[in-house]
Amino acid sequence: MSVVSDIAVSEPGNRRWAPGNLFWATLSFAGGIGLWWLATVAGFSELPTPWSVLTRMIELGIDGQLWLDMYASLRRVLIGFALGSILAVPVGFLMGWYNIARALIDPWIQFFRVIPPLAIIPLAIVTMGIDETPKIFVIFLAAFLSAVVSTYQGVISVDKTYINAARVLGASDGTIFARVIIPASTPFILVGFRIGLGSAWATVVAAELIAAQSGLGFRMQQAQLYYDLPTIFVSLVAIGILGLIMDRVVVRVEERLTHWQERV
C-alpha cells in the first residue's frame, strides 16, 4: 500500500495565557490600585483607601463574617444553578428533538426570558415566604432560561451529515441521540452553563440587596445604612473574585470536555 504522505496539520495554537500576559495583567491591576490610592490621598473623593479596605477585609475574615456571607451567597447560587441546569438540559433536548415539545414550551421560555429575574422577586416573596426558597427560585429561573436556550440551539444545529453518517453505519435513533446529538451539542450546553452561572451570580447579589438576612449583597446593604464604605468595597471585591473563580472553573471544564473541537 502506498502511504500517502500529506502531512498532519499541526496542533492548533495554545490559547492559554502566556506568562507575558500575566505580567501585563498584574501591572494593570497594580496601576489601577495605585491610581485609586492617589485619588484618595489627594482628597479627590471620599472613597476609602486601598489600605483601609484591606484592613477591613482582614478584620471581617478573622471575625468570620466574610466567610459566612460568601458561604450564604455561594450556597444560593450553586443550588439554584444546579437545579436550573439539571432541568434545562433535558428540556432543551426535548425541544430540539421533538417539534411538538418546541411548539409547546418555546412561547413560555421566550416570555419569561424578557422578564428580568429580579422582577419575579416581589411575587416570589409573597408566595414563597422570606426564607431561602424565593431567592433560590429566582436564581434557578435565571440559570434555567440561559441554559435551556443554548441546549436547544445546540441540538438543532447538529450537522445533519453526522446524523446521516451514524445512520448509514447502522445506528438507531437512541444511539444517534446518545453518541451523536449529546456530544455534538456539548459545546453549546457549556456556553449556556457559563452564561447561566454569570446571570445566577448577578441575580443573587441583587436579590440579597432586596431581601435577605445574610450574604454579600445583604452585607453591602447593611453597610450602606451605616455609611461603612470599606465593608461595601470588601463585598464588591469578594463578589468579583468569586465570580471570576466560578467562570474560570466552567471554562476549564469546557476545555476538558470539548478539547476535540477545532478552534479558530
Partner: protein
C-alpha cells in the same frame, strides 16, 4: 441473467408539490454489477447525489424502484457504506473510535473491534494516527479515515458522494490511486459520484452520464482500460479518447458539429 447489485427501475424523484413541485430525477434506469466501479457524472442539478442517497436509504424515490441485491431499499444499513464529501468524521472521537463506531453497533467484542479498525487504518496508511482527533488531520487524511470507517463494517456496496471534491489536485490523484489499490485487494461494488470527468474515467469500469433539469440518463460509457491503472494509463491516447467522449456527453456536444 445474473442479478445486478444495484438497480434503478424507472426511478423519479419530485421535491415539493403542486406548482412548486421540482422534478430532480426522471425515468432513471440503469444497473451496476457486483464488484464493479461505476462513476456517475453530470452537471449540478442532474440529481446524482439524490440518486446515491436513494441507494443509501437516506432518501426515498417518488416512483419506480431502487433495488440492492434485488431487494427494494427501505432504510440505511451497514451493507451499504457511505463516504460523504464533508468527511463526516465525528470530531469528538479519535480516528480509531470513528472506525470502531460501526463495529460497536454490530456488537463486536473489544479485541476484534480494535483489530479490524487497525487493519483498515493500516490499509489507508493511518495506523500511526489511530489515537489522534480528526481536528489534527489534513483533508486527505480525514477522507482516508472516512474510507476506513466505511470499509470496516464490511459493506458490499460503497457509495461515495464526491469524496475527493474538497481536496487539492495532487491529493486527489493520490487518493484515486489508493482507492483503486484498496479496491483491488478487497473488491466491493462502488458507486462514485463526481463532477470531475478525468476522475470519472480513471477509476471506473463504466461511466454513467446524467443530464440536468430534470435529472435523467444521458449516456453510459464503457471504460475499456486495463487494471491496474497508473500514470501510463492516465496519459494514454485511449484514456484521452474516452475522456473526450464523456466530456462531450456531459456538455451535450456529442451530436452537434464542433
Amino acid at each position: 441473467m445474473a442479478e445486478a447489485k444495484i438497480s434503478f427501475r424507472n426511478v423519479a424523484k419530485v421535491f415539493g408539490a403542486g406548482t412548486n413541485a421540482f422534478t430532480a430525477i426522471q425515468n432513471l434506469t440503469f444497473d451496476i454489477e457486483d464488484g464493479e466501479i461505476v462513476t456517475v457524472v453530470g452537471p449540478s442539478g442532474c440529481g446524482k447525489s439524490t440518486a446515491m442517497n436513494m441507494v443509501a436509504g437516506l432518501m426515498s424515490q417518488s416512483s419506480g424502484e431502487v433495488l440492492v441485491d434485488g431487494k427494494p431499499v427501505s432504510r440505511p444499513g451497514p451493507d451499504r457504506g457511505v463516504i460523504f464529501q464533508q468527511y463526516a468524521l465525528f470530531p469528538w472521537m479519535t480516528v480509531r473510535e470513528n472506525v470502531e463506531f460501526g463495529l460497536k453497533l454490530q456488537k463486536l467484542g473489544k479485541v476484534e473491534r480494535r483489530q479490524r479498525a487497525m487493519h483498515y487504518l493500516g490499509l489507508v496508511g493511518l495506523a500511526d494516527f489511530a489515537d489522534s482527533y480528526p481536528k489534527t488531520l489534513s483533508g486527505g487524511m480525514k477522507q482516508r479515515c472516512a474510507i476506513a470507517r466505511a470499509y470496516a463494517v464490511n459493506p458490499t456496496v460503497l457509495l461515495m458522494d464526491e469524496p475527493f471534491g474538497a481536496l487539492d489536485a495532487l491529493t486527489r490523484v493520490k487518493l484515486q490511486n489508493q482507492l483503486l489499490e484498496t479496491w483491488s485487494k478487497d473488491k466491493r461494488t462502488v458507486m462514485f459520484i463526481t463532477h470531475d470527468v478525468d476522475e470519472a474515467v480513471y477509476i471506473a469500469h463504466r461511466v454513467i452520464v446524467l443530464a440536468a433539469n430534470p435529472g435523467r440518463l444521458q449516456e453510459i460509457i464503457d471504460v475499456d482500460l486495463p487494471f491496474p491503472r497508473d500514470d501510463e494509463v492516465r496519459l494514454s491516447p485511449e484514456f484521452a479518447e474516452i475522456r473526450n467522449r464523456v466530456w462531450r456527453a456531459v456538455y451535450h456536444r456529442d451530436t452537434e458539429a464542433a
